[in-house]
Symmetry: C3
Amino acid sequence: MHQAQHRLVVETTHRGLFEFTSEVARWLAAQAIETGLLTLFCRHTSASLLVQENADPDVRRDLEAFFARLVPEDRDIYVHADEGLDDMPAHIRTALTQVQIAIPVASRHLLLGTWQGIYLFEHRHAPHRREIVLHLIGE
Amino acid sequence: MHQAQHRLVVETTHRGLFEFTSEVARWLAAQAIETGLLTLFCRHTSASLLVQENADPDVRRDLEAFFARLVPEDRDIYVHADEGLDDMPAHIRTALTQVQIAIPVASRHLLLGTWQGIYLFEHRHAPHRREIVLHLIGE
Amino acid sequence: MHQAQHRLVVETTHRGLFEFTSEVARWLAAQAIETGLLTLFCRHTSASLLVQENADPDVRRDLEAFFARLVPEDRDIYVHADEGLDDMPAHIRTALTQVQIAIPVASRHLLLGTWQGIYLFEHRHAPHRREIVLHLIGE
């Protein structure tokens, strides 16, 4: 049994979903591990990880619109607003989704479903560099 | 240290929670691994996984009712509706819950709490065959 | 490759977020594993786990207030209320967050981001003893 670790950076340009499935798959294919478990961990409190539909871009737009409605940027309902009106909503949206996802691996491929892609869900309006730790264990 | 992988199918008949704890426990008991970590991964974007209360069926009904209210089937608020009015709500409900859960294992048993069961949360009205990948690592 | 398991108890005094990052870090530092993956699993259906902002306490207050608004204690909208008005909201809040989080480890340290702490999210008003299973694998 072996393990490997890597840090991947996802550059975001605005609030919404950014796919990075191919970056993960490329790193995985270069490892000496055929079968195992790949864990992704997002090192931020205002961005999260989602496995979501990878076909119609409208799904990503509707997802972003739903979270914007559910967690409004409203000066009156939050105490914490150090970094602006999108600060506290970003923390709440991160809590409602997740910072970690583990995906089984076989034949050096992620066992994702046909329509599943891996997304960084950026919750701030401004561009950010988001660091994701990859941990692979298997043989 | 060893690992094992398996694919389990959960057949759903309607929107709501379907328990499959015993199917997982049965597979686990047949593996040559005493202590370790079991990861479940749902290969879909309109169904998810939940660890929830396994006693009162009203909990499952109230959970389904809450998510139906939170993510309404409303033609006017989503762009994406390729597969019907429950299409986009299904993706959103999946994002609000999770497609992966890992549970520690000891003495070939899942270390679930007394009231915890493993559920497939079906987010579409029509029946579906949902594929769950199980990955077990340990010794 | 080795593994270790531990049970940690978090005592809560009210609804809200309770940090226990240092308890986890202390146990981790005592293990003979340098690099690997640490999984935390909460054995309850009315408390969950969050990785969240560890600087400004207002973030925790705003998070609790958001979830209290999103999942109101309303006698009329839930069937299940065996343990009081906060019973069903506690299950729903658990479903909206998560009972399991895995964090990569390097040099015997959790690879958390600068502003990330590990929290038990208590969803009941009364004090509880919450049991968290830790599972560490690596070398």
